[in-house]
Amino acid sequence: MTFEPRIVGFLCNWCSYAGADLAGVSRISYPTSIRIIRLMCSGRVDPVFVLEILAKGADGVMVMGCHPGDCHYVDGNLQTERKIKMLKKLIARTGLEPERLRLEWVSASEGGRFAELVNEFTNQIKALGPSPLSGEKPDPVILENILAAKSAAEDFRLRVLVGREKELIEKGNVYGDKTTQEEFNKTMDEAIQAEYVRNKIYFVVRKEPQSVKELSKHLDLDPQMVLRHIVVLRRRGMVTVGRVEGTTPLYTALEVGR
């Protein structure tokens, strides 16, 4: 049978949801693939939602908000944009196609546009095929990666960076010096990479204790980097030395209340 994508759409109450209503009112048909969730503002979309849903096998996720400037909540939609930007980078690392996540602006008068977008996105997903995480036997590797990404997204560091982006770039930090978009992106990318890997390490060693060597093979990462991450994880109280085999310490995960 043909593949019917499952798409979850987060729509803001004021523009996009109204736009979807208008599509219906104007009897503009589009694929049945999308399931709409109404939020007051697209800014409410927590990166964690998206990763959670992808982990549970959604074939695609659409986030829709008011056009820049139209936001009912001043600039909530710009916050959304930053989050999605970060998310896509994060997802890209997990082996899942970042194209499965999409952000669009749809105004209350753009019923036609809404339909077109759903149609377009559905086709795009069809082309990608079913999510490797959907169905009975989700791909274990990608699943693990996504869960790592998810806990990275729950983590303080990435969230605070996203939350402060506007301020850092426009107003400047506590010392009043501004960051350029380039500088910021650089920091952001590093943070994403680091946090993702760390959480990955955490998930790996949670299954069974591992040595730096093994880890560096598993993650195909320079042992030195691995060690550096482990140091951080230890400081965070997420990882500790399980046992020592000969001279090689094997690290294991600590249960952390999350």
Binding site: G24, I28, Y30, L39, Y73, D75, Q79, R164
Partner: protein, 569 residues
């Protein structure tokens, strides 16, 4: 919260045919059957029109008969019908926040009318999603807060006084704070007011009297606002008099009517270099005090320091009329005196002012258009005269005008102390330096922060009539909360889990409404009244310490997973 856990969920689902709008596409009975299979659904039925009066009574019946404590209506868009059904639930004793709508018309039957089967499947999913959410919903109440029925008006000019009088007439107490020792503001310095040419002093004295007489208005001259704490309904204001003595008021609302200053064009067109180069404002005073000696030729230069490429890019709105007015006054006073107006675009807008241009033309005032690219030059001529060398854009040639009085029309600019006030009140200033309203079109005199309003030239340059309109406007806006006395706070608000909050302040920065501040413990505290419930803070909180009532993470995710066919039971 706890009791919600204990109680047994009893969900009722009411599915609407909407005539044939839904029923014609979606197999409603099948959806009803399906709904019954969902966890905690104890009752489901279909109606022809759920929103019709008899459909509504069916809901009430259902609630009573099956003592439902959660209700779902699957029909059209909540954006129009949710309030109706919520009200129905309340009438039947179910908290309105325990109601959820499933939009199976706009988002389903209408959009997929050619695929009835898929539409039916989608309808089931939508209902399932609603069930998933409604199971996690908690009853909410909308706590009310008291509003102090008094207002603080900052600025004793025509705007401030007009607002004050209008509020006072509605029996609200008004504290009118004026920086200067005297009431009256800008009008005290003006001669005649366009378009009626009334003497400013005449118009002003009536109003000042009115204010002084009014028992509900407390005038505080020579006073400035020092500190403002609190939020709409309950502001704590402390003011300070010249003589350092301070005072505190409790007010429900605050009106900013601080007016504007006139730009001093030092170094432009020989201002302050030649003493026969003066500002339009100065000319008005000379006319007022009958001090103007007969000039042979007057040249007025518009847009001096306004509509610049950089800096003051804005148009000051009133200067053209000011110039026309004074030009005519001069011609009336000294008919032999030539008057030239050097302009860029004549802002003779609205009902009267085009007619004003014609009046000036009738009176023989001469107009010369110049361009930003080729500004006029003022050159010293012999015996104290000045030569204005201007490129006449409409003739395409350089024209020299000898004049013994050059008058510069300069824009209104924000006052120096406005920045301080904007910080005290936590309300923004715009790029042009004037106070920045919540929305240019639909909330032109509100601030994004509830309970604080702006009017008059503090908002942007405008004439007397326009200032009065705005002043009356804010009087209406401010009287709303004070008239209803109590404010229902939005139930959909952010909630901070203090145990998780690290006080990083991200939410404080991110909230568009300044609804979050750090309390003495250094953790975030949400002012429910001010919160609009967008949830941006929740989605951004680094510690995930903030959650949104009625749109909690669990609820949203549950809905999403239900969409994927993975019911979280």
């Amino acid at each position: 919260m706890e009791h919600a856990e204990e109680e047994v969920l009893r969900i009722g689902v009411f599915i609407c045919h909407c005539g044939i709008n839904i029923g014609g596409v979606v197999n409603v009975p099948e959806v009803v059957k399906y709904a019954m299979t969902l966890p905690n659904v104890v009752y489901a039925e279909d109606n022809l029109y759920t929103c019709s009066s008899d459909g509504l009574s069916k809901i009430k019946e259902g609630i009573g008969k099956y003592n439902l404590n959660r209700v779902i209506v699957a029909s059209c868009t909540p954006r129009t019908h949710e309030p109706l059904f919520r009200a129905t639930c309340e009438e039947a004793g179910v908290n309105k926040y325990l109601f959820e709508m499933a939009n199976i018309r706009e988002h389903c039957s209408w959009a997929h009318m050619h695929e009835p089967d898929k539409a039916t499947e989608k309808a089931k999913d939508i209902v399932r999603m609603a069930v998933a959410k409604v199971r996690l919903l908690k009853p909410q109440d909308e706590p009310e807060i008291e509003v102090t029925p008094s207002a603080l008006v900052i600025g004793g000019g025509i705007s401030g006084m007009t607002s004050a009088l209008c509020l006072a007439d509605q029996e609200f107490k008004v504290y009118l704070v004026e920086k200067e020792p005297e009431l009256g503001g800008m009008l005290r310095h003006l001669y005649k007011l366009f378009p009626t040419m009334l003497n400013a002093s005449e118009g002003l004295s009536k109003i000042v009297e009115g204010v002084k007489q009014n028992k509900n208005i407390e005038v505080w001259p020579s006073t400035v606002v020092k500190q403002v704490k609190g939020f709409i309904g309950n502001f704590d204001v402390s003011v300070q008099r010249e003589n350092r003595e301070t005072a505190n008021f409790q007010v429900g609302t605050i009106i900013v009517a601080t007016g504007a200053d006139i730009f001093e064009p030092v170094g432009m067109y020989g201002y302050k270099k030649y003493d026969n180069v003066i500002t339009q404002f100065k000319l008005e005073q000379l006319l007022k005090d009958n001090q103007l000696k007969k000039p042979e030729r007057v040249v007025m230069i518009q847009c001096t320091g306004a509509r610049e490429e950089k800096g003051r890019t804005y148009c000051s709105r009133i200067c053209c009329m000011e110039a026309l007015k004074n030009a005519m006054l001069v011609r009336e006073l000294y008919p032999e005196t030539d008057v030239y107006i050097l302009f860029r675009d004549l802002q003779t807008y609205g009902r009267e002012y085009e007619e004003w241009r014609r009046m000036a033309q009738d009176k023989g005032v001469k107009f010369v258009k110049y361009n930003l690219e080729k500004l006029p030059e003022v050159i010293a001529g012999h015996d104290g005269k000045l030569t204005i060398d201007v490129y006449h854009a409409l003739l395409g040639e350089q024209v020299q005008i000898e004049s013994d009085l050059v008058v510069l029309s300069t824009p209104l600019v924000q006052r120096e102390d406005a920045k301080e006030l904007s910080q005290t009140l936590k309300v923004p200033l715009g790029p042009d330096g004037f106070f920045f309203e919540a929305h240019v079109k639909l909330r032109p005199i509100d601030f994004a922060t509830d309970g604080i309003y702006v009017c008059g030239t503090a908002h942007s340059p405008k004439d007397t009539a326009e200032s009065v309109s705005q002043a009356l406007g804010v009087a209406s806006r401010a009287s709303i909360p004070m008239a209803v006395k109590r404010l229902r706070t939005e139930a959909i608000t952010a909630m901070v889990d203090e145990s998780l909050c690290s006080g990083c302040g991200t939410c404080v920065k991110i909230c568009p409404y300044g609804a979050i501040e750090k309390d003495e413990k250094g953790v975030a505290r949400v002012t429910a009244v001010v919160c609009k419930g967008c949830g941006i803070c929740g989605a951004s909180c680094p510690e995930k310490a903030i959650s949104m009532s009625h749109f909690t993470d669990e609820q949203v995710v549950a809905q999403a997973l239900a969409a994927l066919g993975r019911t979280v039971a």
